[in-house]
Amino acid sequence: MIEIRWHGRGGQGAVTSAELLALAAISEGKFAQAFPSFGPERRGAPVLVFNRVSPNSPIRARVSVAHPDIVIVLDPGLLYITDVTSGLKEDGILVLNTPKSLVEIRSELSGPWRLAVVNATSIAREMIGVPIVNTTMLGALARATRIVELDSLTEPILERFGARARGNVDACRKAYEETETGEPAGIVPKRPKIFEGEELPTWQELLPGCVLTKPGSARQYRTGDWRSERPVWDHQRCIKCGICYLFCPEGCVKQTKEGYFEADLYYCKGCGICARECWTEAIKMVEE
């Protein structure tokens, strides 16, 4: 049995990809599962989705995948904010969407696993017209792991996407052709911690009735890694009115000593409301 973990962001279609992969495997006569991990995270937040594929026996396991054979990452930014290789088996493979070459990625990220890279964002932009890479990455996955035949993916994609299917099939095929694979080497980079400061309490330490005694403890939780764009302030244009502060749904815009405003990037989700509502256009959203 082969176990797969997908890393994407809410809204990027990782759940759909996993389902399409399972359908493709089933069409080849294999057994397969696809399911997301269920959490309160919303659009833009890092999400996990799982597959199991077994060539000849039914799959009994119903739990999430802790030790995947394959990890596939839809969003290049996730590499630097979540531990994508957590639990990945030593002989496993990491399939990445990245604009970087295999050599560059190798110097940044390493471990005993094999690597496969493809610039899925650029392929999706070209073939589908939008940077949604879920179907594109299916092509990369097929190439890097041979878990299903490329042709088996076509039918499920056609069925799921109807009128928009053609671009998705083409993107999937193009990624199949362009995926580079190789062995990683080098040093493992330091990864930022998701949780700062305190450890999570154990279940024995929680009070009965789910009583929480530390007000505002969610402040520990980083939502800044949901962001794909960040707001940048131009002090020349700012009249220090505070509208950006007022409308931020996170309450993470702060006033500096000089009276200007800035976002606390630990929380800023990059929604762009501050930039849209600033009447002097002092705020620009720039890609992370």
Binding site: A218, L246, P249, G251, C271
Partner: protein, 311 residues
């Protein structure tokens, strides 16, 4: 548009009682509404919150975004729990066992208010508890994935009122919850929207002082469920008001006051255009909705005018 006072942090508290680190979608208008409501409520409150997006995103054990006493209730009983807290405080005070007087507040989504928590709410109004009930109306059951509620507007596509070849989306008109609250003869009813933040916070401050039930209905733009780019949340709320689809008004002791009025309303299409949930609407249906919005707005204006004339 409401005059936006300059130097905002000098006008309102910079304290955040709804802490960041909550897991609402980026650009969530409901999270912004809660943040502003909490600023206006201050520390001296106890909040009972029905399940729904705001409860789920703010309290994944062991974290909480709340900086004030807050209790999670079931879907159907936020108003009943708030009633109990209010009654309990009253008794404890009478017996001299408790001297503080926190304001009791119940919160729920439109599903938790107009459908599932409706009878508990009606009961609490009728018994006259001294509390504020706040409905965060994002016009569907968003937490579970965009199912229609009775507060979903006519023509909106949701997962349980999908637009298609035959269906135009939601086939019924939005339930008028503020009018139902008014029909209970409670002392204070108001509508609000975070796109008009000072109006919203003023209404909360007013509701705190009311002896008896107060009901505040807040239109909370949901970029995820409305299929709207996240940065347009504030603009969409403003358009809902400027088109007359969601007028901002207060009803104090039965008297209507229109807080923001326009010599001419914008066409409803300006509001629909932004949102994927209305993308399928034909000109014919839009005209039908326009007619109804105009008629309802005119009626509201007349009610407000009658109050003005009598004073």
């Amino acid at each position: 548009m409401e005059t936006l006072a300059v130097y905002v942090p000098r006008l309102i508290t910079t304290k955040e009682y709804f802490a960041p680190g909550h897991r609402a979608c980026m650009g969530c208008g409901e999270a912004l509404a809660v943040r502003l409501v909490c600023k206006a409520l201050g520390r001296n409150v106890i909040i009972a919150n029905a399940t729904g997006c705001m409860e789920i995103v703010s309290s994944p054990l062991p974290y909480t975004s709340w900086e004030v006493p807050w209790i999670h209730t079931l879907f159907e009983n936020a108003a009943a729990v708030a009633s109990g807290i209010e009654a309990g405080i009253k008794v404890l005070r009478r017996k001299g066992k408790y001297s503080k007087k926190p304001k009791v507040v119940a919160m729920a989504g439109d599903g938790g208010t107009a459908d599932i928590g409706f009878q508990a709410l009606s009961g609490a109004f009728e018994r006259g508890h001294e509390f504020i009930y706040i409905c965060f109306d994002n016009e569907a059951y968003m937490n579970t994935g965009i199912q229609r509620s009775s507060a979903t507007p006519f023509g909106a596509s949701t997962t349980t009122s999908p637009a298609g070849k035959v269906s135009i989306g939601q086939a019924t008109w939005k339930k008028n919850m503020p009018a139902i609250a008014v029909a209970h003869d409670i002392p204070y009813v108001a509508t609000a929207c975070p796109s008009y933040p000072f109006d919203l916070m003023n209404k909360i401050s007013k509701a705190i002082k009311i002896e008896g039930p107060a009901y505040i209905h807040i239109l909370s733009v949901c970029p995820t469920g409305w299929r709207l780019p996240a940065d347009l949340t504030i603009r969409a709320g403003r358009l809902a008001v400027e088109t007359g689809i969601f007028p901002l008004y207060e009803v104090e002791e039965g008297k209507y006051v229109l807080n923001v009025d326009f010599p001419r309303l914008r066409p409803v299409e300006d509001y629909f255009k932004l949102q994927g949930r209305f993308r399928h609407l034909t000109q014919e249906v839009i005209a039908q909705i326009q007619e109804r919005v105009t008629a309802e707005y005119t009626r509201l204006r007349e009610k407000a005018a009658r109050v003005r004339d009598n004073e």
